[in-house]
């Protein structure tokens, strides 16, 4: 083959190979919009894709800004002064310390390698011990210096943080200014990502009750852009070798509301590796750059994706409040029998007969957990009965806040029963915050004091079994009540009576027969009926080929 032919073949190969691989379907019908459920620092891009994108097809988004954004990051004279002062102060304070630290580090490292060597060389124990002492001394010197520097740097950070990080702000301004000076450079907003990974608009029912599939845009790709990446240019001003501060490598800065951004999309196809030049080939290659237009992110006062949440929360609250109000007019509401609560009197009575105390646990959660509050409510009622029966009541607690409230509630229970003198504050005590130490100590009390009745109310974790089994082994009557679904089976097996889930919450209404609590319970029943109606309706709609998905969309949280 002649020289010319060989050259021609090479050129043909070079031309054909990469170009063929770059072909990427172009986005069509691009729409830019504000994202309806954010603070105004994101914009959305949606587009149709001609054909389905392959794994290898990638895209990235860049944006261009005007000087509005530059102004946003501009430091005022005063801020600039603060930053400069703080930097000067820090380099003055820290300068010598930095040197000392690096020499201390060198000494420490040397001491460590000496120590290691002595161990390898099997030197006598006393010599190794001496070297170890030296190492610890050096280590302490280094740690002390390191801490001093860290403390100074923390002071610097506190000085330069005025609602936002001034150092970061200055850096961002510098970067944006640089980009603008160079004729409005494009700034990376979203790193290269495979197109196939982008979600479709159909997967995001952003509007309450509106099914995107019905709007015929289920196949539209949907992407949000919320930050620009600011790399550290590493110029003199941001060089912090004199302060020893950590340097930013690259920081994402959120988009700023009410400022216009110009957007561009770049698409990349994968080039096959070039057999003629293996070093250059392979990987994504730029195929096309498409201008998308301009868009302005806006802050929103209401997160539209939470509409269904608001509707359901309000609906259920209204129903419950309405029935509480109704119950005031008609206080004699019916409540079904709850077996576990019928046994309360029996359990306390037995304790009195045997002359043994009653133990009551309010669970292992804090007071902010609603099941703890339910347990506290029941405790108030049970305490009254115990006072009537003249038994002792022991309440160990895991949370001091719960303990104080439990004391108040029991005291009041005793007072209402007309026996305030029988109340013993010391019997309602704090044990410990640790789950298993609490369990061990409570089991210890069970084994030694042998309470005749044990109440396990509130929220429990794995220790439920230890508590209930120890209680069962001492022969106590046990009444449990929890909404911790994983622990319920253990209580069912080991306790005499168990309040399952909602029964725990219903218990205070059951024991007190207070009209407002009964009304609330009735309201819950109506809300349950409403949920059952929704489930039934969607089943019927599905059978008759109706728009059953409407309900699913309605109750699916975003």
């Amino acid at each position: 083959m002649g020289m010319g032919k060989r050259l021609l073949a090479c050129m043909a190969l070079l031309l054909l190979l990469p170009l063929h691989a770059y072909a990427v379907p172009a986005p069509a019908d691009v729409e830019l919009s504000d994202v309806a459920n954010d603070e105004g620092n994101a914009v959305a891009i949606s587009w149709d894709w001609d054909g389905s994108p392959t794994e290898a097809d990638q895209f990235s988004v860049e944006l261009r800004v005007n000087d509005q954004l530059l102004k946003h990051f501009e430091l005022s004279q005063q801020e600039m002064q603060t930053l400069t002062d703080a930097r000067n102060w820090l380099s003055g304070e820290v300068g010598t310390l930095l040197d000392q630290r690096s020499s201390a580090k060198a000494e420490m490292d040397q001491a460590q390698s000496d120590l290691d060597q002595s161990i390898i060389d099997k030197l006598p124990g006393s010599e190794v011990a001496g070297l170890r002492r030296t190492y610890w001394q050096k280590y302490r010197v280094f740690r002390r210096l390191d801490k001093q520097i860290a403390a100074l740097q923390a002071k610097f950070a506190a000085r330069t943080y005025k609602g936002e990080d001034l150092r970061l702000k200055a850096l961002t301004w510098e970067f944006l200014n640089e980009a603008m000076r160079n004729g409005g450079e494009w700034i990376s907003a979203a790193a290269m990502a495979p197109m196939a990974s982008v979600g479709t608009k159909g997967a995001r029912t952003d509007l309450f009750g509106v099914n995107a599939a019905r709007r015929n845009d289920a196949g539209r790709l949907y992407f949000t852009v919320d930050s620009i990446s600011v790399p550290n240019p590493g110029t003199a001003a941001s060089d912090d070798s004199s302060t020893g501060l950590e340097q930013f490598a690259s920081i994402p800065i959120n988009l700023v509301p009410d400022i216009e951004y110009q957007l561009r999309m770049s698409t990349y196809g994968a080039a096959e590796s070039n057999p003629m030049d293996p070093a250059a080939g392979g990987g994504p290659q730029l195929a096309e750059q498409i201008s998308l237009g301009t868009v302005t992110p806006r802050g929103n006062a209401f997160d539209k994706s939470k509409t269904n949440n608001l509707v359901f929360a309000l609906l259920f609250s209204m129903i419950i409040l309405a029935f509480i109000i109704l119950a005031r007019r008609n206080p004699n509401m019916f409540i079904r029998r709850i077996a576990g609560l019928e046994a309360v009197d029996e359990a306390i009575g037995r304790a009195t007969e045997m002359g043994k105390p009653v133990m009551y646990l309010t669970g292992l959660q804090s007071l902010s957990e609603l099941s703890t509050l339910a347990a506290i409510n029941i405790l108030g009622r049970v305490a009254g009965k115990i006072a009537d029966y003249e038994s002792d009541l022991i309440v160990p607690n895991r949370d001091p806040v719960v303990q104080t409230v439990a004391q108040e509630v029991v005291k009041e229970g005793y007072a209402t029963a007309g026996r305030p003198d029988a109340y013993r504050e010391d019997n309602i005590f704090f044990l410990t915050d640790d789950q298993f130490s609490f369990t061990a100590a409570t089991c210890g009390i069970m084994m030694r004091d042998k309470p005749a009745a044990i109440f396990l109310m509130g929220y429990y974790y794995a220790e439920s079994l230890l508590l209930a089994e120890t209680g069962a082994a001492t022969g106590a009557i046990q009444i449990a009540g929890t909404d911790a679904e994983h622990q319920l089976p253990f209580f069912i097996v080991t306790c005499d009576y168990t309040l399952i889930g909602e029964e725990l919450y219903a218990a205070s209404a059951y024991l007190s027969r207070e009209p407002m609590l009964l009304g609330s319970l009735k309201g819950q029943d109506i809300a349950k009926a409403l949920m059952m109606a929704i489930i039934l309706l969607q089943a019927i709609l599905f059978i008759f080929n109706g728009e059953w998905k409407f309900f699913k969309d309605m109750v699916t949280p975003l």
């Binding site: 161990i119 509401m333 007071l367 902010s368 104080t404 640790d434 089943a539 109750v555």
Partner: protein
Amino acid sequence: MIPVGEVIGTWIAVGLTLMMFSFIYKDNPAFKFGEHLYLGISVGYYVNIQYWSTIYPLVFQQMQQNHNYWVLIPTLLGIFILLRIIPSLSWLSRMSFALYIGGFAGYSLPLIVHSLLLPQLSQTLQPYGGGVGPVINQIIILLAVFSTLIYFFFSLEHRKTVGVISRVGIVFIMVSFGASFGYTVMARISLLIGRFQFIIDSFRGQ
């Protein structure tokens, strides 16, 4: 070479492990000692954690370094809780409890709807399709959810039809508990094996 502290520590740890294990046999002085030691250590740990990870950084450091004096409000409310000890001033703690519990009620209400209630409801709304088996399962699920919910109706007397349905509900609840129970039993056994491994390894000096 293993540091001395670690050797002593490991022996103490093994001793304490055996003391706590003796609880399985019956209540005995060794367990009592371990239990009381554990109690003291854990309360000390808890107080240190509260101080070094909450009070120190969020109150003292905030005031000293950031000159943020807003933290005095929660500090005052925290002191109000302590006033429960003094009966004539104990009413002040109501302010703290009102903010703590009232705020948490409002905080958790939309979260319960979002991450607990709606997902459970949404998962129940599935299409009835995909062959005979899945449809039967779907109907069983519907039946189970309905009957369980009926069981928890408190304002209806459980007699006649309601009584029958709630009996079905309790059947489903019990089968469900049985399944959870069996599942957990197997998982817990492996924990025990891990603890024995620790003792055996320590004796072999590993």
